[in-house]
C-alpha cells in the first residue's frame, strides 16, 4: 500500500484547491496562479507521437474556440521534454494542418504529475494516464476525469461539463442526466415540508415534490 502511495503521489479531490505548480511549458514557464480568474482544463496524456494522443490533441484544438468563448484555458501535460512537445505539435500541424494553440507542460521530473495523481501504476509506472482536471477561476478543482490509456477522451462531454458547471454556478440549480445547454434544469430539493408544498405552486415542471425542473 505504501509502495503504491509512493508511486502515485497525492490524489486530489473535487472541491479542494488545485495543487500549485510552476512548470516549463511550450509557452514558457507557467504557474497555476497565471490562470487565476479563468477556468482551466489541465489534462495529461501518456506520450508525444502516439496515435490516440494525437487524435485527442487535434480534438482539443478543434474545441478550443468554444472553450475560449466560455472563458476556459487549456493546458496539456506529459512527462516528455519540451523539445519533444515542440517537435510533436509541429509534426501535427505539418501533417494535419491543425495548429495546437495551447501550452503543454514538460513534466520530466514528474513533479506536477505526482501532485495531481496522474500516474496510475496499474496502467503505467512511467506515463501519465488520460486525466482531465477542470479548475474554476478561484483555482478549486471542480471535476476530475480519468480515462485509460486505450480510450481517447470525449470532447462533447468536456464541453457539456463546463456548460453545466457554469450554469449551476450562475443560477444555483443542478443539471439532470444527459443535460445539454438550453435544456430544463433541476430546482434544488426543498428542505422543509412547507417548502415542498410551496414549490408545487410555483409553476415548475414537477414529477413529484423532490424532482422539479424549470427553464432558465
Amino acid at each position: 500500500m505504501e509502495e503504491i502511495k509512493e508511486q502515485t503521489g497525492h490524489m486530489p479531490r473535487i472541491g479542494e484547491p488545485a495543487p500549485v505548480f510552476e512548470a516549463v511549458t511550450t509557452h514558457g514557464k507557467l504557474k497555476l496562479e497565471d490562470f487565476k480568474g479563468s477556468w482551466l482544463i489541465l489534462f495529461s496524456h501518456p506520450a508525444d507521437f502516439t496515435p490516440v494522443c494525437t487524435t485527442e490533441f487535434i480534438a482539443f484544438s478543434e474545441i478550443y474556440p468554444e472553450l475560449q468563448k466560455r472563458g476556459v484555458e487549456l493546458l496539456g501535460l506529459s512527462v516528455d521534454s519540451v523539445s519533444s512537445h515542440i517537435a510533436w505539435v509541429r509534426n501535427v500541424e505539418e501533417k494535419t494542418k491543425v495548429k495546437i494553440p495551447f501550452p503543454i507542460i514538460a513534466d520530466l521530473n514528474k513533479e506536477v504529475s505526482m501532485d495531481y495523481g496522474m500516474i496510475h501504476p496499474g496502467q503505467s509506472k512511467t506515463e501519465t494516464v488520460r486525466c482531465v482536471f477542470i479548475i474554476d477561476p478561484n483555482q478549486i478543482i471542480r471535476t476530475i476525469l480519468y480515462y485509460p490509456l486505450t480510450t481517447g477522451r470525449n470532447m462533447d462531454e468536456i464541453l457539456r461539463i463546463i456548460d453545466a458547471l457554469q450554469t449551476t454556478d450562475k443560477n444555483a440549480v443542478a443539471t439532470p442526466a444527459n443535460w445539454r445547454l438550453g435544456d430544463m434544469v433541476v430546482v434544488p430539493s426543498p428542505n422543509t415540508q412547507e417548502m415542498a408544498e410551496e414549490r408545487l405552486k410555483q409553476g415548475y415542471e414537477c414529477t413529484d415534490w423532490y424532482l422539479c425542473k424549470k427553464k432558465l
Binding site: H27, G28, K29, L30, K31, E33, D34, F35, G37, S38, E73
Partner: protein, 73 residues
C-alpha cells in the same frame, strides 16, 4: 524563455508586451488587452521581462525599464 530569445532579443509576444508597456504602466489585465494576448501568457511574460530587467513591477502594475525602452525604440 517565451518572451526573450536566446540571443537576448524580445520574441514577437515579448515585443507586443513591451509596446503595450510603452504606453505607460499597467496591470497584466490591461497589458493583455492592449497586446491582444491571453492573460496567463502576459502574467508569465511580465515576470520574465522583469527578471531580465526589461520591465519593472510596482505593486500590481508593470512599467517599462530604461533597458526595455531601448529595445523598442
Amino acid at each position: 524563455m517565451a518572451c526573450i530569445s536566446p540571443d537576448g532579443k524580445p520574441t514577437e509576444s515579448g515585443s507586443k508586451m513591451l509596446r503595450a508597456l510603452k504606453a505607460g504602466s499597467g496591470s497584466p489585465e490591461e497589458i493583455a488587452k492592449e497586446a491582444g494576448l491571453p492573460l496567463f501568457r502576459v502574467r508569465s511574460g511580465l515576470r520574465e521581462l522583469a527578471e531580465a530587467g526589461l520591465a519593472k513591477q510596482k505593486g500590481d502594475s508593470y512599467e517599462l525599464s530604461e533597458e526595455g525602452a531601448k529595445l523598442i525604440k
